[in-house]
């Protein structure tokens, strides 16, 4: 079991001399506490283990006691993939998998946006509409008559989205309006805004603005990095991630601080590297037909990697991220700690809308156009579903950007697989709902098992 204190934290080297009876009493207390702790053994295995074996045991204990982490969603994903592979042999073809990754990119970005709101124990119903506004602004800016250079167009769209986030966040935090209502207003009102944008623009025939096929906005999804560049990006990404986590863990170990065993860190880096290698190999297989040669990693995957990496860094390593978690769990404690709670919450809503703008960019790039009939309401539902399937709590304070990645892939897999099987739109909706309910049920059952008996 995990009774052994693994580091200096619990055991100061030499207590003050004298006061023998107090010391003895403390020893007894420590034993009592240790006994009580067995029911509470839910701490991360990283802080409890010294070796790989210990880590795996701690990890297993943790899953059994309810802190399941990402294990259920990964297991579920594997099952879904096996099912589709049996049903439809083309499911695992390179062409289809790349298509799946591209589909997943939009869901991942939407989920990443929603996680900022969910971490605060709030909800943002406007992510779909904000994405629509962002997509329209970008499309308008890079098309005639404005004809801005592509990166200025994208920046313009994202600034508008961030501004919407600040506005909604200000209403929520300064006027103390419920986020549900404010962002519901955002969903309705902003849908009207992008329809109006399309009305004003005479070139938008039938509410559709197309994106020039030579524009980098179009090429984000529809063009690929060359295989050489793909491998270079992969090597750099793995080197940065591996270098930072391995050297960080080694340094903390050396200083006697809590750190996961080196073998575990190396295993994690190896898993991430293996995943990356698999994706690059799949993408560099020729997926064209006949004489038409097509291979390489779509640029949008690099965008997703950068966004998830940057937001993970923000949530895990900066004050803003730390305060978002603190406010999500206990706003009163955060306020008493001197944190400017309204400012942090507004910033989170801004990041949410900004990320939604990126999702809108990925979406319009895939379609090569943006139309007023996009279903902003469904985007919200997929955003929340992907975040929750990935493991983010609806009740605030618990969630990671990794959950957006996993949840987005699960939803895209279900969509993609069912479409391959020729299931109707109605069937796809029902299946997605079942997957969502199933994911939440598994999570809730596992957690309930863990919480009984705990204080």
């Amino acid at each position: 079991m995990m009774d052994e204190p693994t580091s200096g934290a619990g055991m100061p080297a030499d207590p003050q001399e004298g006061a023998v009876s107090v010391e003895e009493r403390e020893e007894l207390l420590i034993e009592e506490e240790a006994a009580g702790q067995q029911e509470l053994a839910v701490a991360a295995p990283e802080v409890m283990a010294d070796s790989l074996g210990e880590y795996l045991r701690a990890w297993w204990t943790r899953i059994r006691t309810g802190e399941s982490g990402v294990a259920p969603v990964v297991a579920g994903l594997v099952l879904v993939v096996i099912f589709f592979r049996i049903e439809q042999s083309t499911f695992l073809s390179a062409g289809n998998l790349v298509n799946l990754f591209v589909q997943a990119a939009t869901f991942i970005l939407f989920a990443a946006a929603e996680i900022y709101a969910l971490l605060l124990s709030e909800i943002d119903l406007s992510v779909g509409a904000v994405a629509g506004v962002g997509a329209f602004v970008i499309a308008e800016l890079i098309a005639p008559p404005v004809n801005l250079v592509w990166w200025l167009g994208i920046a313009g769209g994202l600034v508008v989205c961030a501004g919407i986030g600040v506005f909604q966040g200000t209403l929520i935090t300064r006027l103390h309006l419920p986020s549900f209502i404010v962002t519901l207003g955002g969903l309705l009102g902003l849908t009207g805004v992008f329809i109006e944008l399309a009305n004003i623009d005479k070139t938008a025939v039938g509410g559709v603005i197309s994106i020039s096929t030579t524009s980098p906005v179009y090429n984000l999804v529809n063009a690929n990095m060359s295989p050489t560049l793909s491998w270079i990006v992969l090597i750099v990404a793995v080197a940065v991630y591996g270098g930072v986590s391995i050297s960080g863990a080694a340094r903390r170990r050396a200083r006697g601080l809590s750190a996961p065993p080196l073998s575990v860190v190396i295993l994690k880096v190896a898993l991430a590297a293996a995943g990356g290698v698999a994706i690059v190999i799949i993408c560099t297989v020729n997926r064209g037909a006949g004489l038409f040669h097509l291979n390489g990693v779509p640029w949008v995957l690099l965008l997703v990697l950068l966004v998830i990496g940057a937001w993970s860094f923000l949530l895990g390593r900066t004050k803003l991220g730390r305060y978002i978690y603190a406010i999500g769990a206990n706003p009163e404690a955060a306020r008493r700690a001197g944190i400017n709670v309204p400012a942090v919450r507004t910033a989170a809503f801004m990041l949410c809308s900004f990320t939604a703008g990126l999702a809108g960019l990925a979406y319009e790039s895939r379609l090569g156009s943006i139309a007023t009939n996009i279903d902003a309401g469904s985007f919200v539902l997929y955003a929340v579903a992907a975040a929750v399937i990935g493991g983010t709590s609806l009740f605030g304070g618990r969630g990671k950007m990794l959950h957006a990645l996993l949840g987005g892939i699960v939803i895209a897999t279900v969509f993609n697989g069912l479409a391959l099987m020729g299931i109707s739109a109605a069937g796809v909706d029902i299946a997605t709902a079942i997957v969502l309910i199933l994911a939440v049920t598994v999570d809730s059952l596992v957690r309930r098992r863990g919480t009984t008996g705990a204080v």
Partner: protein, 301 residues
């Protein structure tokens, strides 16, 4: 107030623990009150009104450093108002507050915090999803190259926990959600003393705890005071009061009816003060100690 400029040195304020012998002497010193003269904090004629309601009237109270003062009283006696006045939440309407002999205006929680006054409310104000280190440094995180400096935070947090002899927490990296009630209380205390605490106010620290957990917290309170920190404990539990307090102050309907060394009281007299505002038995020996409460002194005669 912010974190120390270089927090890698760890918290510098937690004093070296005195030897146990010295502490015992101080505890048994009897009448002396603050042996070294000036009390850390003095309330002089402090009053507080809420509209027409007189919540506190003419409160005199001295808090000596390095000692535990228990604030007793029935519901509505003014215990909460008193600690909220000291912690700057509700500035007093009249009277004055002296800090180390100098008059101060505690117009907000920040002002009290800047003096070194830390209040631990009953809810402890911890975030369940954050670990022990993250909770202790919440709002005061040191940065290194724009990034949270986890290493120095962990080192400082461990050092503080060790100085408080908190040894029941296995890892400072486990989330607070996985800790027991006594451990949470320990984390809250460690958080309070992490940055230069001179006076720690604890509101009902043992209210929700079992027997062994209560013991753990009471030991922690004694250790805190033995390290030179003044402690005010608000408690309903007379067992705990007599176990831990060096001095006892009893409030009754917004008035301070008795303040003295704990040894001058017995359970009976404290209960009488709490319920009626006066005690037939009176204080043992020479009445109200330290001359801090003429009003109470009148009432006991």
């Amino acid at each position: 107030m912010g974190p120390p400029a270089d927090s890698r040195e760890g918290p510098r304020h937690v004093r070296e623990p005195m030897s146990t012998g010295e502490t015992v002497t101080a505890r048994q010193a009897g009448n002396g009150g603050a042996a070294d003269g000036t009390p850390l904090l003095s309330l002089r004629g402090v009053g507080k009104n809420f509209g027409p309601v007189r919540a506190l009237s003419h409160i005199d109270l001295d808090i000596p450093p390095g000692r535990v003062t228990a604030l007793a009283g029935d519901n509505g006696a003014g215990k909460s108002v008193t600690i909220k006045t000291i912690s700057g939440l509700w500035p007093p309407d009249d009277g004055e507050i002296l800090w180390q002999g100098q008059p101060v205006h505690l117009h907000g929680p920040k002002a009290a915090e800047a003096l070194g006054i830390r209040t631990i409310y009953q809810d402890l104000a911890l975030c369940d999803n954050l670990d022990v280190v993250q909770n202790m440094f919440l709002g005061h995180e040191p940065l290194r190259h724009w990034v949270l400096d986890e290493d120095s935070m962990e080192i400082a947090a461990r050092k503080t926990l060790e100085q408080l002899h908190v040894r029941t927490i296995r890892s400072v990296r486990q989330p607070v959600a996985s800790l027991s009630g006594g451990q949470r209380q320990s984390v809250a205390v460690a958080k309070a003393v992490l940055f230069d605490a001179k006076l720690v106010i604890m509101d009902e620290p043992t209210a929700a705890l079992g027997v062994s957990q209560t013991r753990q917290v009471l030991d922690l309170i004694k250790r805190l005071s033995s390290q030179g920190v003044a402690v005010i404990v608000v408690s309903h539990n007379l067992n705990d009061v007599f176990e831990v307090a060096d001095r006892i102050a009893v409030l009754y309907l917004g008035r301070m009816v008795a303040v003295d060394e704990a040894s001058k009281f017995d359970r009976q007299s404290v209960v009488e003060y709490m319920t009626t505002g006066l005690s037939e038995r009176g204080l043992q020996a020479d009445g109200v100690g330290a001359g801090s409460n003429p009003q109470g002194s009148e009432r006991t005669q």
